[in-house]
Symmetry: C2
Subunit: 418 residues, 2 copies
């Protein structure tokens, strides 16, 4: 298991609670959004949620209940500003995006094949693509230093994709897919439409499947325009372009376990649907989520505006708090986290020193996620999740400050920019 | 996809409904229990079900929420009459027994390995063990004719297991596991304790893992004693004995997607738990099912006694109805179905004729399951599910009668016993 799982297990064993366990582990490591649970809870108590017809408790279509897929298709058509109306037949419902990765990795490629992925990236993808599919990541390393060709840190370019692909070929790895996370995890930035198109063209040139992970699609809190792959007028290779989204992040319900695959490739979908029986969602859950999606008034005027406002506020709170204690962050527009630069607090610019810092923070009962967990190529970066209550953010800053500014963690001068 | 899936898809496309679609497909093919949904529904409306703490909507232990596993451990300890109290640490919760098969097949063996399984058996196991695990079934063929060594039709003996194992070895198949379904699907009978022990001893001799599928454990409607593998005082090979159960059948909630693995093998469980993230259950569902399991009074005095009574009545209704139209069934004690002998209605004693009969019944909008779907070695047997409302059972008999006693399906004399 990776560092993210390891950290989460430590948290589960001793979770912070204001009243019951104030000295417990404070979790800003796991990407969850609890900011709008009050709205979710209120909506769940309305009568439409309670009508549970007997059918929901019996076997149903393993691809997902038809009426639920219809609601998802309408929802994504509008909220992803789809170029054309989505067809419910192209949608498969599974118990989380983990399952979407598991089925795609099994179906798209053969064991041992590789997939290109810009690093840093959500490290859970490694095990999700490996455990059933036995696929290996081919990293496209990104760095914080800005060169002439780039406009910002950790910028992806097609040249970097190309270089990574050629390196993999030389190593004898057959690369079959490209995974892009947009909004990005952990960077929190968004692919400009132009770069997205260039990446799709690149994938098309090499006949790579593209897996677009847009699980943070509606967790954009800046006034920036987000371009979903579904919104592009013409895809270079629609048969090899697969989209995933879920309720975990944008609805703040990681525990409800519902992810969605959209693909127009019938062969791929047929194969995925065969596996979907292993990843199916309870009927009552499909019913309840349908009710959310049907309620446009609530989503348009209550939930999403409030969520965006609260994300923005929480992000600012954390970023300001970090600035106060001398920790800069990368500018971000989407996702539930910031990518923070702790390099000047490392004893040396190594991953050993990064892990040491992580461990010290854990000793102080603060869980954040080290760059290593995201296969970052540059030590000293950490992901901090801000979609938490105000008091937890303050407490995080407090614990950080105590740790970073005690003697043994005295900043060591180094040449890295910050 | 197999015949069971094919039949179910036909049903889903045109489901019978008393008022809205009285000419639709009547489904006595899918093993579901709708007899006690009134009780489930009533129980679901009590206030303890509604208390949904925020944690349930966030990430939790992929092995299953600890408090839910504790309830399952207590429940199985009592209801399976376990030899010793079960440890919640030995339990993994997944989204259905499909997922238990998928993870075990991936973890226990290598692709291409075989598992012994007495045939007929629930045919869905083929794809569940194949799609991720790539394991192949090694059939132990059973027949209806009773010989000197046997006391009843389709009887399993250790000699038959032994013979199948040796045949597989000669074919170069490495057999690594034995799957036993108890109560049996589709036969509806129960393994006597003595035979169960002999099978476990056999497996131990050959170092085979034993997967005990006891998903119908509490759907025993006869006054026969059911022996769960959990109840045995000493297992020949506890490290290779794995137990599965779920809420689908015994609680009549196939659509809730919750299955349970119990194993005392830590290595196996660790590996399964890594995969469990792909098969996790929603937190709110784990909460709701915990409430069921906590309510001993309701289970002991309301649900299970009523369920047993209704199963018994429904079984008798179907068996009597079948007898009236000349269709004998195998004596059964558990499960939701009977194994019915349609051999005298086949044009020839072949699987082609069996499929032809199946198709004709489907043309009459009656879905039952042909023996071929259970890898039966003898054509002419069908599984009929009786855990249905009275009017559906009557209608099934009516449609059967119309079909079987029209001219072109005139009984053809044959020598097979019936």
């Amino acid at each position: 298991p990776g560092l993210l799982d390891e950290g989460f297990a430590l948290y589960l064993a001793d979770p912070f609670d204001r009243e019951r366990n104030p000295e417990g582990v404070l979790n800003l490591g796991t990407s969850e959004n609890t900011l709008c649970f009050d709205l979710i809870e209120e909506r769940l108590t309305r009568p439409d949620m309670n009508y549970l017809q007997p059918d929901l408790f019996q076997y149903s279509d393993a691809q997902g209940i038809r009426s639920f897929r219809e609601e998802i298709a309408k929802f994504l058509t509008d909220y992803a500003r789809a170029a054309k109306e989505l067809n419910p037949e192209n949608i498969t419902v599974m118990n989380g995006c983990c399952a979407v990765f598991a089925t795609l990795s099994t179906v798209l490629c053969d064991p041992g094949d590789g997939y290109l992925i810009p690093a840093p990236y959500y490290g859970g993808i490694n095990s999700k693509m490996w455990l059933y599919g036995e696929l290996q990541p081919v990293h496209v390393p990104l760095f914080s230093e800005v060169t002439d060709e780039e406009s910002h840190p950790f910028q992806l370019t097609v040249e970097k994709l190309e270089a990574a692909l050629q390196r993999a070929k030389k190593q004898g790895i057959r690369v079959r897919a490209l995974i892009l996370i947009n909004p990005h995890n952990p960077l929190g930035d968004i692919y400009p439409a132009q770069l997205l198109k260039e990446c799709l063209d690149f994938a098309h040139r090499y006949e790579l499947h593209v897996i677009m992970d847009e699980i943070y699609m509606l967790s954009v809190y800046d006034d920036i325009t987000f371009t979903s792959v579904l919104s592009l007028e013409s895809l270079p290779d629609p048969e090899r372009t697969h989209f995933m989204w879920g309720f975990s992040k944008d609805f703040g319900m990681c525990g409800i376990r519902v992810g969605v695959l959209h693909t127009t490739n019938h062969e791929i979908q047929k194969a995925v649907n065969q596996l979907a029986v292993f990843h199916s969602c309870p009927g009552p859950v499909q019913h309840v989520l349908s009710q959310f999606l049907k309620d446009r008034d609530w989503m348009d005027n209550v939930f999403f505006p409030t969520n965006k406002k609260r994300l923005k506020e929480a992000q600012k709170l954390l970023v300001d708090g970090l600035a106060d204690i001398g920790v800069p962050v990368l500018k971000s527009s989407g996702g539930l986290y910031v990518w923070a630069d702790f390099r000047k607090f490392l004893k040396s610019q190594t991953f050993e020193a990064e892990l040491e810092l992580w461990q010290k923070l854990l000793d102080k009962k603060l869980l954040i996620s080290p760059g290593k967990a995201f296969c970052c190529y540059e030590p000293g970066w950490f992901r901090l999740v801000f979609s938490n209550s105000v008091d937890k953010i303050y407490l995080c800053i407090k614990r950080l400050e105590e740790m970073l500014h005690t003697n043994d963690a005295e900043p060591v001068p180094n040449n890295a920019s910050s």
